[in-house]
Symmetry: D3
Subunit: 152 residues, 6 copies
């Protein structure tokens, strides 16, 4: 049976932290579907098309990676795509408590889907999409936090 993982997120924008998690998890899976959750209530800084396009550019050479978007529940998308794993990175204990809640509720709804966590690299711990957006809004330089493919 194929080991397929969904890496769900907003990726608004994708950061060096996300990329490190994906590259390090890649050997463990037969396929990783990086998938942007469409949330009608939360407004994003960058358009869905823009975000998809950056991620596709970054992983263009990776045959095992697919980049897409989805609406609805993450577990429903996983089921539809035959993915038994959700991939997530963990930075801080605040992160952990949030992810634990989501992960355990996902298993209540679909007990065959497991969330698999990788640790961020220490130097990526302070980097999050929301802090990147905040720095951008105030005119700061985020080149040490995002890949060069993210041009805005």
């Amino acid at each position: 049976m194929e080991r397929i993982a969904v890496f769900p997120g907003s990726f608004d924008p994708i950061t060096l932290g996300h990329i490190s998690i994906i590259r390090r998890a890649l050997p463990l899976f037969d396929k990783i579907i990086i998938s942007i959750g469409i949330n009608s209530e939360k407004s994003s800084m960058f358009s869905l098309e823009q975000r998809l396009s950056w991620i596709r550019k970054i992983f263009i050479a990776e045959k095992k990676i697919e980049v897409t978007s989805y609406g609805g529940l993450t577990v429903d998308f996983c089921t539809e795509r035959n993915a038994n794993y959700i991939l997530r990175g963990l930075r801080t204990s605040t992160d952990f408590e949030f992810e634990r809640g989501i992960g355990q509720v996902n298993r209540k709804m679909a007990s065959h889907i497991e969330t698999v966590f990788f640790l961020t690299e220490p130097e990526h711990t302070p980097i999050s999409s929301s802090i990147v957006r905040d720095v951008i809004k105030h005119g700061g330089d985020v080149s040490s936090m995002i890949p060069e493919e993210v041009e805005y």
Copy 2:
């Protein structure tokens, strides 16, 4: 002197976690007033009437439980109703730090009112009203997280 507790919350909607806390705390008090705080700034998914009606239906047989709503400060409502205790459940350490701040500020304003905490059952730890609303919005099944009286 009667031991009266107020269990304040949004209950948007009430979950199996809330119900477990209330039933387990009931023998300790002479009366528990489940009371929905009316917060003009925070919009709710379900109407106040709807939320009150569900809670009343669940506890219809419990003579020691009253279900109502209130505006203003929780400690003022407690004083008005002669309640010396605020009842709260604790799920996670993030919960705890939030509740500790509220509880200690409540005592600064009304030193005779104590917050009394019960632990959630382990299986209810991931369940919160906000996660229930999120699953509902995405069309998921929340029947393992809320009581059957909550029909929407």
Copy 3:
């Protein structure tokens, strides 16, 4: 049915934080049994007799308080003494995670026994028996952390 609580601990020595929790919880219960757990593996700074004697002196005027010691499991002692509640104070989130584990395991073993938590006063948050012992060992002054009845 009487509301009896056991407040278990090492009380090596009892601090102002413990006393505040006990006094504030007293109106909620018909009886509080302050009980020193005898742990053959953990060595204490002060003898069991000394610790019991200090606590008895502090609460000599409180008819609803009993002071004693016990071996074995806390839940077995509670059952023997007809106590349905374990009383504990919460200072920090590290405390909370520790207490949650103990409290949930206690309910696994004796589902009718609930742990009831009160918050420490903000000014007592940094005070613990272990920090008091540490200051004593280094020759410091602990008079702002313990009651005057604790004479050593």
Copy 4:
């Protein structure tokens, strides 16, 4: 070289907790610039003028304190003002994780600027500007949480 610190914040309104941090940190620095970050997206309860005026009144006698506001990134404001230190208070571990992220990202952008943390006094731990605003909105008394100079 002068030791200049910026104490950035919203101060909406300034609390007794902020004041304690500033007064205790004052001997360590040659100058502390209390500076209100102007955030066009976040609406405040009190106007910028009002907030500045309260802080100026409180510290009118302190020659080493300057009160001002700034737009843009905190590190850019620090550079402009020759300040090598950002001063912050720490209340809880949730605070800490948030501040660590900001502080480490600030060093990524400007490695010569260090964030220096002081601990809040235990009795100020539950006090935050957001809890003060919440109590004010519900008609409560905040006189034990803010200085008398904050008149509204």
Copy 5:
């Protein structure tokens, strides 16, 4: 390339929480080596032979599981056994901070070895080997926390 994981631990004794993690992680790996770290400084309640024998009995039917012990560093054992993954369960945020330190130091020493985390089931959150030992020492019943194969 084979996906081999080492699940290191003391397993003193193995709990229902450990077993759940292993069974749920099994489909993701080609082999899981459950391996008891031999720590000359830490004394165990049960002998190494006893602990190995219990684990072997539990997983006797699983072809993909091997049960063994090791001395020295976990990463050295992984390298020797061609394992690129260390498997660990996460229960609480205290757990998380501890595991993050170990996991990131392991990567400093052997950058090709990744720690992969699974979440414990909510009902297993309060269960740990140390709490099991503590209940056993006090004469309590641990049958809801350990597998029936663990007979002592």
Copy 6:
């Protein structure tokens, strides 16, 4: 008035994390006294002389740094040396809760002494003396965690 800080610790052994904190804090103080607390109950891996000698070698060129040891309470040592500041690094939220307790108790005993915290660099977050000792005991390579002056 001189700004003198004591950086207390066991430094068993000193790590790259400690060194980074000291170097970054140096411009803020007129003198930093790195001081090894002598704790008769805690056994160390390296002798006091060895630890002092490594630290002296590392900072031999720094005129503002003094290296010494002390018995008794840290605040008493500070008073004796006219130091109004205790310098500490913060890595994790577990660290923070521990340090907050110590720091607030120190102020209870000596209200003129403030603890000043610096953040560790992200890449030093997983490094602690205890993890270094653990790796050494198991025969691992700690050269990425300690300075070259630490030869053992």
